[in-house]
Structures are given as structure tokens and as C-alpha cells.
């Protein structure tokens, strides 16, 4: 599965760029960043069939009991910050070496010299990590260049899945260390925090049958359809839609001359209709591509009706996704789909000036009112790789450091990495919550976390009621989660199939906006099949048969 293409992942690279507001790199001569694949057609060489032998044992570890435990894999939550933190490491795991590490950054660049955060963490881990922080928005270009020049590859490289460069399968073999001997099975017991990471997540770190990466774990549900429950309440809307039809009616009702019901709900439409991320395995073992499914067609028809009835904000019709959040938070639209992480970010922005601001995700809806289907998201979205070396002690030291970095919520290690030094980067308020100082904004940016991170928990107690609302919603939604075909597998497609998708994406926008009719879908599917779709199907069929 090409990770960045997976629709459950939330945003395609392009939407992400627009979100970032920095547009697209302005030259066709520059490298691309979407996953493509190898030139070799043999699926055996690139298929990510993970033999369970290479996966680390899963040894869950609870330093503190969550108030909202995980249900069916949902994110666990903490209603309060534990007053006593556990110190997992008595002595620093590192043995004084210095490593270079390249990580992306979505935030203000911190100072490298005299940075108390770096100094404190490096002292605590017992090794010095020298960061080469790179602009997150152009990180794919940087990666493409650096990976092509083996000498320039730093000891530790963070690679977000949406930045995995084309033909990465050829790079990963020679450039990066095979971690299987260090972590597979019971070997992982030397690294208890890494053993605390679920098997599904590790499965996603397997390239070519070998454990190659360390994960930044994600959540099983990545996207939701949000609505402004505060405004709904004001207007006396209490009935939430339970079918696709009802949602359309609600949208029509919410739209008036000065306000529109929604942003572009294409992603929401695929959620409601349970459109598979990429393939569906039929009972007879054959594969159906998502665009060939009835669900896909229905979702597209539904979205086109939404646009046609005038419920979509004109700026969203103009495909301006950069300001989608601003439209939603300002109440210009009341329904919008977003990544689940967008929820608390909106609260962070809005609660300061508007304490009554509130948004909620709709409980999962099935188009026909039946049982909803949610497809499980990528178990990890950001991976880190260790440069291949003959010095196995060095690898072991780096893994020990990674284990420190993966210390879960409730440990002093977690607090240090995420909040910095108490009294310098944060003060503790009466809720026990770390309140960042001004210095934190300058010095403390997420860097270490991109090398290894514990499983996700929700401890955002600073937003009243948020943790409970979030965890109960996800615990409920988690019952509908299913594994999509080829779940958790790193499959690199031959890159001649890479261009199949763009015409489809264009068609989705065209049909939604009424520039083309749903009837054009059949022709587009035919074109897709004849210009490589059938071969792609065969490619995946071979992967499936090899399993």
C-alpha cells in the first residue's frame, strides 16, 4: 500500500501542502515526494509480506492506569495528570557517543547552541544527538537528495510515510540497518518501552521482510466528521443524522444566505459510505479497486448532491483547503471533516478568546443507517531509520536511546522529552498540568519524538471535557473499525502505476462540483483499467497470493 495515498490517512500530499499554506515547490525539476516505487515488476522483491518472526514481542507496560482505557484499540485517555511520575531509567542508557539525526520540523526552528532542552535531554539519554532539522514542508525533496548521496546520510533519519521517496525499496536495503536481530521476538525484551509498542505498528516498519524502522505510532481512527455542537445547540438542533440522506437534509437546513453548511465533504462521504482505502478482497479471492466499488460511486453521487444543493462554502468549492479550519472555527461552515488531531488544535486556538467554543465528531454514520464501517488507519505515520553500520554496539546504543525516547506517558522521561525541564520550559499548574514558559516556545520543538515515540494517549486535560469526549467517542467508533486489505503492509508499487491516480482525483473534484456527471465515472474506470489498472490489480493479486 502506498501510504501517502491511503485515503484514510486524511490528507493527500497536496492538501497537506495547501494546509501548510506554502503551496507547491515551483519547479518540475525538483523531486517528488509521493511514494512511487521500484522499477522492478517482480512483486516478490517489493511486497511487504511481514513474516511474524521478524516482529518484536508485544509486552504491554502500564506505569499509570488510564482513566479511559483503550477499547478495541482506541486511544486511552487520562482525565488528570498523575501526580507521581515514574522514573524508568535510573542511569542514562547511552554510552556517550554522538549521533547525527535528520528530522522534519513543523514549527519555529530552535537554537542549536546553548539550547537547554537539547542539553537536558542529551544529558539524560547519555548520548549526544546532533539534529539536522529540516523544513517539514519540503522534507521530501531534502530526503530524495540526501538519500541519493550515501555519504550525506546521517546516523538517524526520520521519514514520514507521506515523504517516503519513490523507489525507497531500493534505498532501504543498502542504506539502513536491519533491526531484526536486535528487536525480533524476545530480543526486544532488552528494550521494554519498544516492547510496549503494539505488533500492528511494528508490522508497518517491515521492509522487504526485515524490521527496518522505529515507529511514531498513530491512532486507529485518523479522521472524523466534525460539527459545531455549540452552534447546533444554540439553534436547537438535537437530532444528529444517522443516514447519508439525513446529513444532506441537515446541510440544506443549515445553509442560508450568509452561512454555508459545510466544507468539501468528500472525505466525509467516503467515511459514511465505507469506501475502502484501496482494494477490497472479494469472497472468491479477487480484488476490486475502490473506484470500482458501489460505495465509491455512491459517495461521489452523494458529494455531488451536496455541492449541487448549494451547501458547500464557495471558498471550499474553489478548493481552498488552506482556510478550511478557519471557516469552520469562525462558524462560516458548521460541518467539516478533519484529522482527529485537528480537534484539540482548534480548541487550543479558540478557547482563549471564546471559552464556549466547542466542536464534536459525529458518531460513525452508515449511509443506509445500518452498521458503519471504518477502515483502520496506518498504524504509524512517521518512521525513523538507522544508517547501516558495521558497528553493532552503536546500533545497540541508538536502540537504547530509542527505548528511552519511547518511555510512555507517566514517566519522567516522557515529561522531559515532551515538556522539557520543569522550571525552565514549563511550570506545573494546580491541575498538575505543564504550562509552557516563553523559553519553551523558542527552544522546545518536537525533534526527539520523531526518532521513537510511545503509543498514543490522550492527556490533554487543559481543555475541559475534551479527554472524556474524545475517548468515549473513539471507544464507541472503534467497534466499527475493520482492517482494510493489505493492512499494515509496506508495499512499494512499480512507479509506472503512480500516474493512475491523478485523473481519478481530478474526476472526483469535477463530479463533485458538477463539471462532469457521474456517468463519466464508467469511462474513467475503463481508462484506468486499460492504462495500467489491470496490471496493478495483478500486482496486488500476486502479493495476496504470496501471503
Amino acid at each position: 500500500m502506498t501510504p501517502s495515498r491511503a485515503p484514510v490517512g486524511g490528507h493527500s500530499r497536496r492538501t497537506f501542502l495547501t494546509l501548510v499554506g506554502a503551496g507547491v515547490v515551483g519547479s518540475a525539476a525538483l523531486a517528488g515526494c509521493r511514494t512511487g516505487g521500484s522499477g522492478s515488476d517482480a512483486p516478490s522483491s517489493s511486497a511487504g509480506v511481514a513474516s511474524d518472526d521478524v516482529l518484536p514481542a508485544y509486552l504491554p507496560l502500564d506505569y499509570v492506569e488510564p482513566d479511559f482505557p483503550s477499547v478495541n484499540g482506541s486511544t486511552a485517555g487520562f482525565a488528570t495528570i498523575p501526580s507521581e511520575l515514574v522514573q524508568a531509567y535510573e542511569t542514562p542508557p547511552g554510552s556517550g557517543s554522538t549521533f547525527t539525526a535528520m528530522t522534519p520540523l513543523w514549527g519555529a526552528i530552535p537554537p542549536t547552541v546553548g539550547n537547554q532542552y537539547y542539553d537536558a535531554v542529551n544529558a539524560a539519554i547519555g548520548s549526544t544527538i546532533e539534529f539536522q532539522i529540516s523544513d517539514g514542508n519540503t522534507y521530501g525533496d531534502k530526503l530524495a537528495a540526501v538519500l541519493a548521496s550515501a555519504d550525506d546520510v546521517p546516523d538517524w533519519v526520520c521519514i514520514p510515510t507521506w515523504n517516503i521517496p519513490p523507489r525507497f525499496d531500493q534505498a532501504v536495503e543498502s542504506l539502513f540497518e536491519d533491526l531484526t536481530p536486535f528487536l525480533a521476538g524476545d530480543a526486544v525484551r532488552s528494550y521494554p518501552h519498544l516492547a510496549n509498542i503494539p505488533t500492528d505498528v511494528w508490522r508497518f516498519c517491515v521492509f522487504d521482510g526485515k524490521l527496518k524502522a522505529l515507529p511514531f505510532p498513530g491512532e486507529i481512527i485518523t479522521d472524523a466528521i466534525f460539527y459545531r455542537d455549540d452552534v447546533f445547540e444554540e439553534e436547537g438542533i438535537t437530532e444528529l443524522p444517522t443516514t447519508a440522506e439525513e446529513l444532506l437534509e441537515l446541510c440544506a437546513e443549515l445553509t442560508n444566505g450568509r452561512r454555508w453548511a459545510a466544507n468539501d465533504l468528500w472525505n466525509a462521504a467516503t467515511l459514511i459510505h465505507g469506501v475502502v482505502p484501496k482494494w477490497r478482497i472479494e469472497d472468491d479471492g479477487t480484488l476490486t479497486h475502490r473506484i470500482e466499488t458501489e460505495e465509491y460511486r455512491a459517495a461521489l453521487e452523494w458529494n455531488a448532491r451536496l455541492f449541487a444543493q448549494g451547501s458547500v462554502h464557495p471558498d471550499a468549492v474553489a478548493d481552498n483547503s488552506g482556510d478550511a479550519k478557519a471557516r469552520f472555527e469562525s462558524g462560516q461552515v458548521l460541518i467539516s471533516s478533519d484529522g482527529v488531531g485537528g480537534w484539540h488544535e482548534a480548541l487550543a486556538r479558540q478557547l482563549g478568546s471564546n471559552p464556549t467554543y466547542s466542536q464534536r465528531p459525529f458518531p460513525p454514520v452508515a449511509a443506509d443507517g445500518g452498521t458503519p464501517v471504518l477502515w483502520k488507519g496506518n498504524p504509524a505515520n512517521i518512521l525513523s531509520f538507522i544508517k547501516a553500520t558495521d558497528d553493532k554496539d552503536k546500533v545497540a546504543e541508538m536502540l537504547a536511546v530509542a527505548d528511552f525516547l519511547a518511555a510512555p506517558f507517566g514517566t519522567t522521561e516522557y515529561a522531559l522529552i515532551n515538556y522539557g525541564v520543569e522550571g525552565v520550559h514549563y511550570e506545573t499548574d494546580d491541575q498538575g498540568l505543564p504550562v509552557p514558559t516563553e523559553l519553551a516556545a523558542t527552544e522546545l520543538q518536537p525533534t526527539y519524538v520523531f526518532l521513537a515515540d510511545p503509543p498514543v494517549v490522550n492527556a490533554k486535560v487543559q481543555y475541559p471535557g475534551f479527554v472524556e469526549a474524545f475517548c468515549t467517542w473513539m471507544a464507541d467508533a472503534a467497534q466499527y473499525v475493520q482492517d482494510p486489505a493489505f493492512f499494515g503492509m509496506q508495499i512499494t508499487e512499480p512507479n509506472r502505476f503512480g500516474s493512475l491516480n491523478q485523473p481519478i482525483e481530478d474526476l472526483e473534484k469535477d463530479i463533485s462540483r458538477g463539471r462532469r456527471s457521474i456517468d463519466d465515472l464508467d469511462a474513467a474506470i475503463e481508462t484506468w483499467r486499460s492504462s495500467g489498472g489491470e496490471e496493478l490489480r495483478q500486482f496486488y493479486q500476486d502479493v495476496l497470493d504470496a501471503q
Partner: protein, 322 residues
Amino acid sequence: MTTVSTPTGPQTPALPVAPRRRPRNRHRPVWQEQPSLPGAVAKGLVLTLICLAVLFPLYTVVLTSISTQATITEAGGLVTVPGEITLAAYRQILAGGIVTRATMVSIGVTTVGTLLSTTVSVLCAYGLSRPSSLWHRPILFVLVITMFFSAGMIPTYLLVSGLGLIDTYWALILPGAVSAFNVLILRNFFMGLDPAITEAARIDGAGDWRILGRIVLPMSKAVVAVVALFYGVGYWNAFFNAMLYINDNAKWPLQLVLRSYVLQGVTLPGSGVGQVDVATGAVTGLPVKMAVMVLAVVPILVVYPFVQRHFTKGVIFGAVKG
């Protein structure tokens, strides 16, 4: 020719009519006729409209950069009506001294780069400016080719890395030091100079270096200023090479640092509630984006008038003097 003729207005024999109506513009050369009233009104109107079309969006950008989140939420985007004002975005960007150091880096790179590029380009342009000089056609061809055939990012990276320029400021200057476009512009102006003057100097025994330094350059201040401006703005705005070639964050130029503020608060694809957001006190989104836009332009605003002097002196000034 319509676009060209509008500004000057209808061609009335204006001389006898106008002087009584309005006082004579002291900047008008004696030989120039008074403009007709409709002509002047039309011109004023067009210019006012043009300025407004630029100033209004500019105003919303600046206003948004100093508005509070509440005001921006209310406006649902760029702010057009002033609400609460705050300098938080600017304070945040300028705190910590990183921007200051990056500004020094950018000024250094821009100065050295502009000097180098302009010098090399002027030399090259002059070297090609005499028709039929030795090898000038093949050399021109070599130049023009570079305008249409580019090297890919990866080969260029491998070259820069191979030359040991990674993490040096030269990596920000050398790869794009010569723009064939600018050389052609310079050459075009040099060729427009009256050949009689240079010919006279040559007969007096002056060599080409001397002719360039003593005659051609002083007569071409305007175009050299324009080309230097093109190069300067290019170096100042560039971030991509720095992103590729500079690993040491302490050596980042201003544009790259400013971009990092724009990215603050971005929701990562697929990121969930676990995504670290330590700097929750940070100003994010529109005000920071707009503040960055403003800060990036300020140095250009400062420098532009000095450069502008060189390419606007001309007809009118000369005429007043004469």
C-alpha cells in the same frame, strides 16, 4: 497603441490654453506642453485605481498580522475591518535572537552573492556586446542553453556535495550565480550605447577593460542597478538551496527561518491527539503567516528606494538640469 496613448491624453495643441488655469508644474521642462484637463483626470484616476488595487490587499495583510485570533475568527480569514490589535505574532517571531542571526546570514549571502553575480554578469555581457567579436556566438549559445535545459535536483545536489560545499554559504551562492537572462539584459543595454563614444576611446588607445570601467559602466548605471536588484532579490528570497545544502540550523538564512514559523501549528497528515504540541502558547496560523510576509518584504522596502534612484533618473531630471 491604445494602452500607450491613454496616459498622455488626447493630443490637443495645449500650449495656449492651459497656463491660466493651473500653476505651472516646476518639474515640467519648459518645452513640454500643459496636460489637458481630461487627460490629467484620466491619468490620475488610473494611477489611483492601480495604487488602491495594491494597497488594499496590502492593508489587509498588515492588519491581519496584527490582529488577535478572535478578530481573525470573526472575519473568517483576512481581516478588513480593524478589531483588537496585538503584536504577538511579531514578538514571537523576533524573540530568541534566531531571526536576528538569520538576518545577518541573509544580508551576508545577499551582499556577497549580488556583488559576485553582478560583476561576473557585467563582465560577461560586455565581453559579448561587440558584434562579430571572436567566439561571441558560441559563447552566447552556451549561455542561452542554460535558460532552457536545467539540471535535476539530485545531480545538482550530488555535485554540490562532491565539491564539499554542503553546510557552506558558497552552496547558497555559486549554483545560481549566473543568470543568462540578466546577462542578456545587460548586453542588450550595452549594445544600445552610442558606438561612436567607445570607438573614440579605442582610437585614443583605451583597452576594453578601461572602456568598460570608464565609459560603459558610468553610462549604464540604470541597468546595472536593475540587474543587481534582480540578483539581490533572488538571493534574498531563496530558501530552497539552503533547505537542501545547509544542515547546520545555525547557518539558516532568514527566509528558511521565517518559513518555519509559518509551519507552526500545522496538523500533520494522520497525526492524532498524540501529536506533541508543547508550544501551545504559540501564535499560529494566519497572523504569523502574514507577519512573515511583512517581515520578508521589509528589507526590500528599505533598500528599494536607493536602487530605484538609479533607474528613474532620466528624461525629466536631465531636462531640468539642462
